[in-house]
Amino acid sequence: MGQFAQFAINGLMSGAIYALIAIGIVSVFKATKVVNFAHGYLIMFGAYFYFTFSVVVPGQEWAPAWLASWQPDWLLAAKEGLPMFSPMGAVLDWVANLPRILFGLVGALFANAVVGLIIERTLMRPLMGQSIFAMIMVTVGLISIMSGSAQLIWTADAANVPYIAPNMPIRFELFGTMIFIFGTDLVNMVIALLLFGGIVAFVRFTKGGIAIRATAEDSSTAYSMGISVPKVFSRAWVLASTTGAIAGAILATRNGISPSLGLFGFSVLAIVLMGGLDSYIGVFIAAMSVGVMEAMTQWQLGGDWAEIVPYVAVLVVLIWRPHGLMGQKEVERI
C-alpha cells in the first residue's frame, strides 16, 4: 500500500506537468481549431531557451557575477557551518541560483512567445479559413523545421540547468511506509496546477478569455461582433508558447535537455485527445490519470512499458468515446 501511494504521488506529479503542456494544445485548438502537432517542439524550444538564459548567458564574461551565482554576505554567513546535504543547504543553494533561475524563466517566456508569434504570423495566419487538414499538416511540417533548427542553433551539449525550486528531499510516513519526494517536484506540481487553474479562470472570466471562447464557438460571428479574430489567434499562440516555455524549463530540470524532448509532445497530444480536445476539465482528468497509470506501469512492468501507456490509453478511450472523455461531439451537416 505504501509503495502504491509512493507511485501514485509520483504519477500525480508528472500528470500535473502533462496537464500544463496539454493546456497549450487545448488553448490553440479552442481558438483556432488547429491541433498543434509541433507543440512538443515548442516545449523543446522553451527548454533550450531556459538553458540559454540560465546557463549560457550567465556564464559569459560580460555578464555580471551576481547573475551566475548570487553571494550576498548574509547568504555566505548562513551557509557557514552547515552540514552537507542538509535541507537548509539546498534552500541556500537555490537562493544563490535565484537570479539566474528568474532570468532564465523570464528569458524563456519572452523568447518562446516570440517564436509562437512568428509561427502564428507566418504560417498559421495565411491559412486562416483554409481546410483544417492543411493547417494540421503545416504543424507537422513545423516538427521537422523546429527540430532541425534546434540542432543548428544549440549545437553544444546542454549542461545541467538549475532546479526551479530548492531540491531538498521530503520524507513522510503514509500507510506505514516512508514516502520520499523531491521538493522541486512538489513545487513543479504546484506551479503547473496554479498555471492550469489560472488559465482556466482567465478563459472563463476575463474579456480576453471570452473572446477566445466566442471565437471557438463561431469565428465568423465573433468577427462580426467586433472581436478581432487574428488577435485572438495570436493570443492563443502566445498562451501556448509561454506555458510551453515553463513546461520546457520544468522538463529540462527533470529529464535533461535533448532533441528527444519534442517526442514528449506526442504523448501529450494523445492525452489531450483522450480528455477531449476542447475540455479543460477532461484534459486535466486525462493528464492526471495517465500520469498515475504510467507510474503504476513503471512499478509493475518496468520503465520502458510506461512510454506507450498514453498511446494505448488514447486508443481505448477513442474506441469507447470517439470525442474523448468530455469532448464536445461534433455536429455535422451533410
Binding site: I132, M137, G141, S144, I145, A150, V312, L315, I319
Partner: protein, 356 residues
Amino acid sequence: MINANLKSTYAADERVLNNRYKQMFVYGMALLLAVFGAFANDYLILIACKMGLLLIAVVGINVLTGYTGLVSLGHAAFVAIGAYSVTIFQNVTAGFIPDPVMIFFAVPFAVFLAAFIGVIVGLPSLRVKGLYLAVATLAANFIVIFLIEQDLFAPWTGGMVGLTTNAPNIFGWILDSKREMFGLIALVGFVTLLMAQNLIRTRIGRAFIAIRDRDYSAEILGISLLKYKLMSFSISAAFCGLSGALFAYFYARILPEQFELDLSLELVAALIVGGMGRTMGPVFGVIIIVMVPEVIKITFGALTGDAAGMAQLRAPLQEIAFGALLVFFLLKEPLGINQIVDRMLRAANRWPFARG
C-alpha cells in the same frame, strides 16, 4: 486537355489507360526505366531504388489519404510489419520451403499480414475522423515499434539491434546486386502504380472517392462505410507491407528505428508535395522528397569541401528543408506538383491560345 478522343466501344472506355496519351506515356516510361536500369551508374541506381521503395508505400497511403480522405500518420508501422514479417517468415520456414520459391510465399505472407493489421488499425476510423484518426494511427505506430523493440519478441525480431535480412531468390536467381534489385523494385513499383490507376476506375475506387467527398452522403447512397473504410485501410497497408518486404530484401539489415514517426511523416509529405488523389502524385512527390536531401548533401559537400566540423550541420539542414518543403506546398500549391504539371500540359495543349 485531350481532344479528338473518340471511343467506339464500352470496352475502350473502360480500359485502365483509356487514351493514347496515357498508353504512350506508360510505354515510354517502361522503356526509360529499362534504359536507366541498364546504363545508370551505381549511385543513381541506389537513389532510384530508394525512390522506388518509398513510391510503393506512398501509393498505398495515397489510396487511404488521397482517395478515401482518411488521414494516417502511422503508416510506417505497416512498412515495418512488411519488412519484419518477410524476414521472420524466411527465418522460421527456412527448412520447409525451398529457397528458390521462398519469395513467392514470404512476400504474400507479409502483404496479407500487413493488410490484416491494417484492418485492425483501421477499426477506429469507423468512429473517429480526421484529426482523431491521425492521432490514433500515430499511437498505433508507436505501439508497433515498441512491440518490435521488446525483449519478449527479441528471439524473432532481434529487438533493438534489428535483423539481418536475406537477398531474394527467384527460382535460383539470387538478386544480390543493387542493379538486380532495381529491376525488381522498378517492376513492382510499375505494377503498383497501374494497380492504383485500375483501382480508382472500379466500383471500389469510386466508393472510396465518394467517402472522401462526403462520408455521410456516401452512406446514404448505399456505400457501406464499414466495408469500404476498412478495405481502404487494408489496401493501403498491403502496399506499405509490400514496400516493407522489398525494403527488407534491399537492405542488408533492418532496424526498428528506421520505421519510426519520421518515415510516416515522409510518406505523408511525399504525398502532399506530389499531389493527393492523383496517380502520378506519389511519383512526383517521391522524386522531390528523395532528391532534396541528396541535392543538399552534394551542394553542401561542394561548398564546405567535406570539412569534418561542417558535416554535422548537414542533417539538421536536410530536416529543415524537408519541413520547409511540406509547409511551402501546403501554403502555395496545396494540390501538389501534379497540379503544376497539369497546368503546364494544359498550356502546351492550348498553345498558342489561352493559357493557364
